[in-house]
């Protein structure tokens, strides 16, 4: 359940004109193609909804309020209330009714207003969304998208800064993607909507408006399950995703400038499926690995990545693998959340440990 006063507060403080946190805030007069992640996601939704009348956008406050982060700006006006639906305040109702809409041939995009509330739809995700294809032996499928603002770093209140990717990645039948910038956010959301299977799109809210990026005019998609090399390097591989990509890139610069260490940064973009080949190819090249994510360490995606490296590339390793993650505690209230989150300094120190081993 959501505190209305808070949403107004968060919504307003994240308006484009106010900006937030990022160093790369650009002049609003720049070319249209320079978009924030929020605008890029909005562009993807607009494009797909124009192309396919079966695509629906549904969730709490996604209509007239245009989403608490304004991701659904302009959609109600353009597509009407049959396709852009303000639902009653019930997460399981959003996801559960979307399962039925899928059976009628619709392509619902469900917005969970915040990551922490997605757990209130969890039994529908586990019990039906991920199982429908298997359960009906292919007669019915669930090509829906469940998208939500993800992660910490925006000084939000309790339940608004969760990082549930491992929980979803653990459920076979789902795909789980995490964009790291405006351009790949637009491409991944488009790919997710067009994908014939259910995709959870975790949108790092810390970088919703942190920086702008050139986004081409023509729609793009990216293959789900493939990562990219965000920064090539030869001394150590740092594997990460979502908002931590920026933190890690910052760390890589410091490693290069101050310690002469050339780090390769792998941006996974997807944790289910996970790009096994890319991870192992990079680690075989560098012989060292650090895994960084903001979610909990215990049974986190980092453990899966480490296991894959150990299974496939053990003999290439020059040092033990390090994990830099959130701690196995409840994420602290915002006064202390920066101490919980991985920081550039924590990444630098972990990378140096592996290099100096």
């Amino acid at each position: 359940m959501t505190d209305v006063a808070l949403l107004v507060d968060v919504g307003l403080s994240f308006r484009d004109d106010l900006g937030i946190g990022g160093p790369a805030r650009l002049d609003r007069k720049q070319a249209m193609a320079q978009l924030t992640m929020v605008k890029a996601l909005n562009l993807a939704l607009t494009e797909v909804m124009r192309e396919n009348p079966n695509v629906m956008m549904m969730g709490q406050d996604v209509g007239i309020d245009e989403g608490v982060f304004r991701v659904t700006e302009g959609l109600l006006k353009e597509f009407g209330e049959d396709r852009v639906v303000d639902t009653p305040l019930a997460e399981a109702g959003i996801v559960g009714s979307a399962v039925g809409l899928c059976m009628k041939g619709f392509l619902p995009v469900c917005e969970m207003q915040f990551d922490g509330f997605s757990y209130q739809a969890f039994h529908q995700v586990e019990g039906h969304v991920r199982r429908l294809r298997n359960r009906t032996r292919g007669r019915f499928t669930c090509p829906m998208v469940i998208r939500m603002p993800y992660g910490g770093g925006i000084r939000a209140i309790e339940h608004h800064s969760e990082a549930p990717e491992a929980t979803y990645a653990h459920l076979a039948g789902l795909k789980v993607v995490l964009p790291s910038g405006p351009r790949n956010a637009r491409a991944l959301l488009r790919a997710a909507i067009l994908d014939p299977d259910p995709v959870v799109v975790l949108e790092p809210k810390a970088i919703y408006r942190a920086f702008r990026e050139e986004v081409p005019d023509a729609p793009e998609t990216m293959p789900i399950g493939k990562g990219v090399i965000a920064r090539p390097g030869k001394d150590v591989t740092i594997i990460t995703y979502a908002a931590m990509v920026r933190t890690v890139l910052e760390a890589a610069e410091e490693l290069a400038e101050e310690h002469g260490v050339d780090a390769e940064v792998v941006d996974l973009l997807s944790v289910a499926p996970i790009d096994n080949d890319l991870i192992n190819a990079s680690v075989r090249k560098t012989g060292r690995a650090v895994v960084v994510h903001e979610s909990y360490r215990h049974c986190g995606v980092g453990g899966e990545i480490v296991a894959r490296i150990v299974e496939d590339s053990l003999m290439y390793l020059e040092a033990p693998i390090k994990r830099v993650t959130g701690y196995d505690t409840i994420i602290p209230f915002f006064a202390n959340e920066q101490n919980w989150l991985p920081s550039s300094a924590k990444v630098v120190s972990a990378a140096l440990e592996t290099v100096r081993f």
Partner: protein, 370 residues
Amino acid sequence: MPRDTVPIPGKIEKIEILSHDGKLDTKLEPKLPDADLRKLFRYMLFTRMLDERCLHLQRQGRIGTYGPCKGQEATPLGVAYHLRKEDWFVPSYRELSGFLWRGWPVDRYMLWWGGHEIGSSIPPEVNDTPICVPIASQVQYAAGIAWGAKLRKDGTVVACFCGDGGTSEGDFHEGMNYATVFKVPLVMIVQNNQWAISVPRHKQTASQTIAQKAVAYGIDAMIVDGNDILAVLVAAKEAIDKARNGGGPTLIEAITYRLSMHTTADDPKKYRSEAEVKSWEAKDPLPRFRDYLRKKKLLDEKIEAVMEEDIRNELDTAVAKYEQYRHDPYAMFDYMYAQMTPELARQKQELKAALGGDVAPQRETARTHG
């Protein structure tokens, strides 16, 4: 400014037509063709005999845990009778008579309880959903299907079932709330069989009736004697017609009783008295409908004997077909995604190696869509 009592909008009607002691309200009696009445009886009898056969199969270890539906044959059947093929029958797991009326193959029902996913594959000619185990979770997708029907303007109706225990679930409330807010063509039938495993109806809700929950959702409800197929037929027709004509959802509380155990894994003697069970055996829907049809000269002992013999033969054939089925041990990998992921392909190979490489399975044959 006086305190006042606020009138509660909404209407709850109670419908009983054929009582357990044979009294008939001829004014309310539905006028069905004789052939249909006889056919309905045959399906009711078929359900009872299949249910008994499944119990035997379970006792002999030929299927797994089984959840019988004895005593609850009338309600799903009376609802399914009024559905068109293109309508949606969205069951829980005690709606066997409705499955059969909709045309689900008998052996597929056995396959489900026999531990094979293929038992969930829906016959291509109907728009149904399979047995749904997580209680009341189906109410949510039923509401969504009905919402989709409204958006498509295709005139189809969704009939969804859950039990009295199901009404305690959040999913029941959320589904009903969505269905009524969006005014979708949903008929929600609660089979109030008095027991959720060992927990009696009065421990599920402080409401005097389950039907009255409809009032809070802003819709009307009906309470029917769920062991009286004539009452069910009348209530279902009204609710289905109303939904089809844009009138929105109806909640039907069907009062019935689970004459047998929850599943073969529990013993009802532990939690309910034999006197209670006996009192409900007197209200059994099957002899009640049989006596009604005998009075109408549509049945007699000779016709019934032939019918029973035919059904027994059909069941023998179905059991034989069920037991011939050989599952594909690798099919578990095939329906996870439209395109198998590299990781799953590796795991499939891993299982093949573990099973010795070549087990020559029979492909799953009931695959309905490519």
